[in-house]
């Protein structure tokens, strides 16, 4: 079931009904969180016990789901028209809590866990290392998966600089934490002696001198302490990262790539789809969010231009000319969006492309989410 997505094709009904994990991803500001919420709603409607894990504190979305606020604990969303046993829950990722739990789980002793959590490097690392948020989202996902409580987990990924960041996050994190490089930097003598080791060791000493000059030695001392406390945890971390990757690579985990119909987010969507394929991950489809509805081709652009030019300079003439120009504008914009989508997705194969039409302005309420859920599962505007 693949389509070359120059036209909308297919839907996400099967994914909502049988996937265990659905991950929404895409550039910032394209409507990932809304899509995740709509998928969650569709999951519950399909009779499944569903949890939506969001990263973004989208207040209005919480309101649309009638939840006062979201935090690290799942909260039940009131739904009256779902099958028995089906439920919709929602929660928001708390990165620090998740990371702390991870440390507690893997630290070789409670003292070491406490020392790590108090370290300056850990504090900046856990709040601002690019990819940490993504990694923690995946970590939390795995915890929720392990709990065995959920039929369907819908995960919204953070608005990163690049949607690709979160695929690299586990790898980056483990590389960083493994600290081989740091071991080398802090104790170059260990590595010295062998051919390549000597060369890198010498480079590392030079680097240490430079880093010391540029940043001051405190940073390096803190780093040293941090990594000493981390010793013995690398294996656990790495194992966990592998488990996360295995979960994501399972055919029951699928990615929903979201884009708005403008070139930059479309480019990101395309890169992401290609990347999924390389990594052996499964795309459910691409969602083009808030696309303008198509406009019929009559009258032609030439006809519009001619009639506009021929209108008399009175109230009615101006109104008719304005109306025709408006029609031309809307048709241009709708056509431009479709061309941009087709150009960006040229040659890409995905199981489904769903166009979610630009309805009102924002999704304010349940009805708005419902309409999107319907479009995602039927491939058609409601």
């Amino acid at each position: 079931m693949s389509a070359t997505p120059d036209q909308p094709a297919g839907d996400l009904a099967a994914d909502v009904a049988d996937a265990h994990v659905l991950v929404t991803t895409g550039a910032g500001g394209v409507g990932k969180t809304t899509t995740a919420a709509a998928l969650g709603l569709a999951g519950a409607r399909a009779g499944r016990r569903t949890l939506v894990l969001t990263i973004d504190p989208a207040r209005r979305l919480a309101q649309a789901m009638d939840i006062e606020h979201l935090d690290d604990e799942p909260r039940r969303v009131d739904l009256d028209d779902v099958p028995e046993d089906a439920e919709l829950w929602a929660m928001m990722l708390d990165m620090q809590t998740t990371f702390d739990r991870l440390i507690d789980r893997h630290a070789t002793s409670p003292q070491r866990a406490a020392a790590i959590k108090a370290n300056r490097i850990y504090r900046t690392l856990s709040s601002s290392l690019s990819g940490t948020q993504e990694y923690m989202a995946m970590e939390r996902l795995h915890e929720l998966h392990d709990s065995g409580e959920w039929d369907l987990l819908v995960v919204d990924t953070p608005p990163t600089r690049s949607a690709l960041d979160f695929l690299d996050a586990p790898k980056r994190m483990t590389t960083f934490l493994e600290g081989r490089l740091l071991q080398l930097l802090l104790r170059p003598s260990v590595a010295a002696g062998k051919g390549l080791g000597r060369m890198v060791g010498a480079g590392a000493s030079a680097f240490m001198r430079v880093a010391g000059r540029v940043t001051g030695m405190d940073l390096l001392q803190d780093l040293g302490e941090f990594f000493r406390n981390f010793e013995g945890m690398y294996a656990g971390f790495k194992e966990r990262a592998d488990q996360v990757l295995t979960l994501l690579q399972d055919p029951s985990s699928r990615f929903v790539v979201v884009a708005s119909p403008e070139p930059p987010p479309l480019r990101e969507a395309r890169f992401f789809l290609e990347r999924l394929e390389q990594e052996g991950l499964h795309a459910a489809g691409v969602v083009i969010n808030r696309i303008r509805p198509e406009v019929p081709q009559d009258p032609s652009d030439a006809s519009i231009a001619r009639v506009v030019a021929g209108q008399p300079d009175d109230a009615e003439g101006e109104a008719l000319a304005g109306a025709l120009r408006l029609l031309g504008d809307v048709r241009n914009l709708a056509a431009r969006q479709r061309r941009d989508v087709a150009a960006a997705l040229y040659g890409v194969t995905v199981p489904a492309r769903i166009d979610v039409p630009l309805l009102g302005l924002d999704v304010h309420d349940r009805a708005g989410l419902d309409a999107i859920a319907t479009t995602l599962t039927t491939g058609k505007a409601p």
Binding site: F207, G216, D298, L324
Partner: protein, 366 residues
């Protein structure tokens, strides 16, 4: 063209967005931050300023926008009076090391060992500091006659979610970096950041409910950094094609009347498209009314003038559209805009420019 449309007096000068040495353009993802930064730079060039456009996030947004080859660390003049550079922390570090220590050969070692990734990962503020350091460096460069090398530096800055830590990097530097040239320069950077003649931020928004709210929050957060904020630039403002009266007239004509008149005028239009057209008229009027309200709300809640860029409704969007956007901005800060005049008529320009005005007393209040 008869009487020229110009930005009303009071806007130019006081809120002249082009008057600062460095303009940081931020905004939520998807609002058109890069396009707006490019338009601002073109307005700068049109006003005779030697203008530098800076990319900090390695997206190659500008090279696509302007149709040039990929940008890198080296500043190049890619059209008369307009330079471009894409800066990244690694290149900035190599430049520092070379300049302050005469260390040249360290680059290979650092790349080989991923040492820089490592340090900037352990101390994330360092990355922002290196980028800001490079921007500072561009700002202080002088020509042989002592004038600034670039009159205007426009930065496609990180989005609203990351802009505050970005601008705070020099303040936080003492926590991370306690010696060395970066530490010494941090103080000078901070001075640049706190001086409204040298640096200001502008926030790009859309006139929709969510972006307006987020822009208001971003402006409040930016003000706390002590960096000058303003004006807000509303992007993709729908150009009114119909007045209220014209819309009422069309409503009175109704489907059959409209179909008869359009067909009579020689437009081959179906009944179905006529129905759609009447719907579009309503959507358009609602949209225009709503964006006027949201623009006022934005000006009021931010306490800032709101400049506007029109939604370009052509069948394509390319470099000529950017020229028009640059001109529309130029007109709002008291310059002329020949490209904008070619594309829009007087009423349309007045609609975009006019509502951009802050009430005079609000200006004083600010």
């Amino acid at each position: 063209m008869s009487a020229p449309v110009t930005a009303p007096t009071g806007l130019a000068g006081v809120h002249d967005v082009l008057s600062a040495n460095v303009v940081m353009v931020t905004g939520k993802g998807g609002v058109g931050k890069t396009t707006t930064a490019a338009a601002l730079a073109l307005a700068g060039v049109a006003s005779g300023r030697r203008t530098m456009l800076v990319e900090v996030e390695g997206r190659q947004g500008f090279s696509r926008t302007f149709g040039t080859a990929a940008w890198d660390y080296e500043a190049r003049e890619f059209r008369p009076g307009l330079w471009g550079t894409a800066i990244d922390p690694a290149d900035a570090v190599y430049e520092y090391l070379d300049r302050f220590y005469g260390i040249r050969h360290v680059q290979w070692v650092m790349e080989r060992s991923h040492a820089l990734d490592f340090v900037t990962t352990a101390a994330p503020g360092l990355r922002d500091l290196l980028l800001l350091g490079k921007i500072y460096d561009l700002e202080v460069q002088r020509r042989s006659d002592g004038r600034r090398r670039y009159d205007l530096i426009v930065v496609d800055a990180p989005p609203t979610g990351r802009i505050v830590p970005f601008l705070r990097a020099p303040e936080g530097v003492t926590e991370i970096v306690r010696v060395g040239p970066i530490q010494r320069q941090a103080g000078s950077m901070w001075e640049m950041l706190q001086n409204p003649r040298r640096l200001r931020t502008v926030v790009v928004s859309l006139l929709e409910e969510m972006p307006v709210r987020e822009t208001t929050e971003a402006v409040a957060a930016l003000r706390e950094t002590g960096v000058d904020v303003g004006p807000v630039i509303a992007n993709q403002v729908v150009v009114p094609r119909l007045s209220d009266d014209a819309a009422s007239l069309l409503r009175r004509l109704g489907r059959d009347g409209l179909l008869t008149r359009l067909t009579g005028a020689g437009a081959r239009i179906s009944g179905r498209t006529t129905d759609l057209l009447l719907e579009l008229v309503e959507v358009h009027r609602d949209r225009v009314t709503m964006q006027t309200q949201l623009r006022e709300e934005l000006a009021r809640t931010c306490g800032l003038p709101v400049l506007a860029l029109p939604l370009m409704a052509g069948a394509t969007f390319g470099a000529p559209d950017l020229e028009v956007l640059g001109d529309v901005l130029a007109m709002q800060v008291g310059e002329d805009g020949p490209h904008a005049r070619e594309r829009f008529d007087e009423e349309e320009l007045a609609a975009v420019l006019g509502a951009a005005l802050p009430a005079p007393d609000e200006e004083v209040a600010r």
